[in-house]
């Protein structure tokens, strides 16, 4: 790793949810780093803790039931978990902003697009000189134009229900980028859309973050999107990061049995049938498996996997795998 300050660093983050019947131990020591300007992907199946991790960064997890027993989250060297609500409010918006999976749920149905967008813009200027109504309007128009929406004046007066799904997601992207954040968290930004519309939205997002030099964390369960949109990938399973690698490296040489299984399970355009996938299902977080959380589904399970949690072993430049199969190879690549 180079000496430039890290934009985001998550150290040993644990998140539990206190529910009737016990504690759901969802995140189990997540480590995550990213540099400024990077585009990082976070992949994993439903329920593996991707969104929980991101919500923990923004501190928007409902507490209770969420508890963070230990962990640190540094954004530009400052621990977000130790900040007071005012400081956090400064970070949200100008520092970090987020696009959610379902734009219909992310927009408030009883306010117009203009009211919601302008509120974001006004709020982001709190620290400096307050913006005049005219300036706010201009910037709202500008951010809608940026996301390639026609007739922004009319759109500002529309309610979310009057827009199509693709347009709503564009509005959300415009809103998230209106404040020029340093880090954008995009949580499955195309999943609720049709393929052709998803393609449009992702290309738009891709262009905007390049223009504005925004760092991006892209959360998705579609491996193809990660391959096209990111520089580096974190693979997550059951609250653990199981593999980290540069995107090209991960796709040419997946190492963790889970990543390999996931890659094989993706149906290919080249044909040749579908693999059976990974047996079993994601564990119950009330009593997660001991040792490596993947061991009940792993085809290469060894005794040690049931007892100890694997550390992250380096197998290549910037390629880390949390699996005992690669214990011997540590340091070989670098």
């Amino acid at each position: 790793m180079s000496s430039t300050p890290l934009l985001l660093e998550i150290k040993d983050l644990h998140v539990h949810f206190a529910v009737y019947g016990g504690r759901l131990k969802v995140l189990d020591g997540v480590n995550f780093v990213m540099q400024s300007g990077e585009r990082v992907g976070l992949v994993g199946e439903a329920g593996c803790g991707k969104t929980t991790t991101m919500k923990a960064i923004l501190q928007v997890l409902p507490t209770p039931p969420a508890v963070i027993p230990c962990g640190e989250i540094y954004f530009k060297g400052r621990d977000l978990l130790k900040m007071n609500p005012n400081q956090l409010q400064q970070i949200r918006g100008r520092g970090i902003s987020m696009i959610f999976q379902d734009p219909t749920a992310a927009l408030n149905p009883v306010f117009t697009v203009g009211q919601q967008l302008k509120a974001v813009i006004k709020h982001s200027a709190v620290r400096g000189r307050p913006l005049s109504a005219d300036e706010v309007h201009q910037r709202a128009i500008q951010s809608l134009q940026e996301v390639a929406l026609a007739d922004p004046e009319r759109l500002l007066k529309s309610y979310p229900i009057q827009l199509s799904g693709g347009m709503r997601q564009r509005v959300c992207i415009g809103m998230a980028l209106a404040t020029n954040p340093e880090l954008l968290i995009a949580d499955e930004p195309g999943t609720s859309l049709d393929v052709t519309i998803q393609d449009q939205v992702l290309r738009l997002l891709h262009r905007l973050v390049k223009e504005k030099n925004t760092s991006v964390i892209l959360i998705t369960h579609t491996l193809g999107i990660v391959r096209e949109m990111t520089d580096r990938v974190y693979v997550m399973y059951a609250g653990n990061i199981v593999e980290v690698a540069p995107t090209a490296g991960l796709f040419s040489r997946p190492m963790h049995p889970y990543t390999i299984g996931l890659m094989q399970a993706v149906p290919r355009l080249t044909g040749g049938g579908v693999s059976d996938g990974i047996p079993g299902r994601i564990p119950n977080y009330l009593q997660p498996p001991t040792g490596c959380r993947f061991h009940p589904r792993c085809p290469h399970v060894m005794d040690i996997c049931r007892q100890e949690k694997p550390a992250s072993y380096q197998v290549d430049d910037d390629h880390y795998v949390a699996c005992f199969l690669y214990r011997g190879e540590e340091g070989k690549g670098s």
């Binding site: 393929v195 519309i197 393609d199 999107i225 796709f251 993706v266 290919r268 355009l269 990974i278």
Partner: protein
Amino acid sequence: MTADILTITDLKKYFVVGHKGIRRREPITVKAVDGVSFAVREGETFGLVGESGSGKSTVAYVTVGMYRPTAGSIHFRGQPLFGEKGERPLALKKEIQIVFQDPGSSLNPRRTIKQILELPLRIHRPQDNRLEQILALLEMVELPADYMYKYPRMLGGGEKQMVAIARALATQPSFVILDEPTSALDVSIQGKIINLLMRLQREFHLSYLFITHDLSLMRNVASRVAIMYLGKVCEIAETVEFFRSPYHPYTQMLLSSIPVVSEEEEQLKPRKIISTGEIPSPVNIPSGCSFHLRCPYKMEICTRIDPVMVQVGEGHLVRCHLHGQPGEASHEE
């Protein structure tokens, strides 16, 4: 050549969603399915692909008998599905079954798996030993026998879908409609369900109408593919042929929009057709060819006249003005 098991001819299904005009007498209709024709062959998997609102599920629901068609006909082994009499005979209901997209909402949460599987058996096979049949069904979908006494909420998404498949197979059908059977599931579970379906197809010689929006999946399961856009079919072809030379601009757009995981697949995509525009509302379908607003090769004629299906190759049909003259379809861009 195998015989056709299901023939859909010029099927139309319009829904009245409201009324307009001064006296609110003029109906506002959604043309969910507007003149769809295709045939499914005995023992094949026929893929029906389309984005949301394209009418693919409506075709399925009409076929299974949830709606009566506005116009057109469906024949099952030569027998019309919508005859003079209102109700479909039990023997026909038994032959055509459906598996829905979301097993979380298609299984009754207050019934045990045993009760869920019992109902079709009670109606369609009253003389058989029910418990024996339920055990056989569970074994067929590779679920342990003690799942009989579980409730759907105690099962994972994939297992629930297996129960839904078992329920569809309980009547010993010959034709099964699979309406996005895996799109609610994780990719690691999808493979298991798909392979199970393929095995059952071989074992019981089933014919499938497989509905999905996932073209990569379609490539691996279907023998023929039809693409729907706004209630109409725009292209039908054999799967291999379809992916090798897609003709319709919408098909090309769809194929080039798929995110893929390897370089070899990237090569297979048609040269990038940038996806533009929104899918129009089915209440307000554009004049002429319904795709003309988004089509990169739009011509003047497209805004006025809706193209007709023409044959461009062996079993390859396209509905586009670019390919107006059959046989002369030279089209390189």
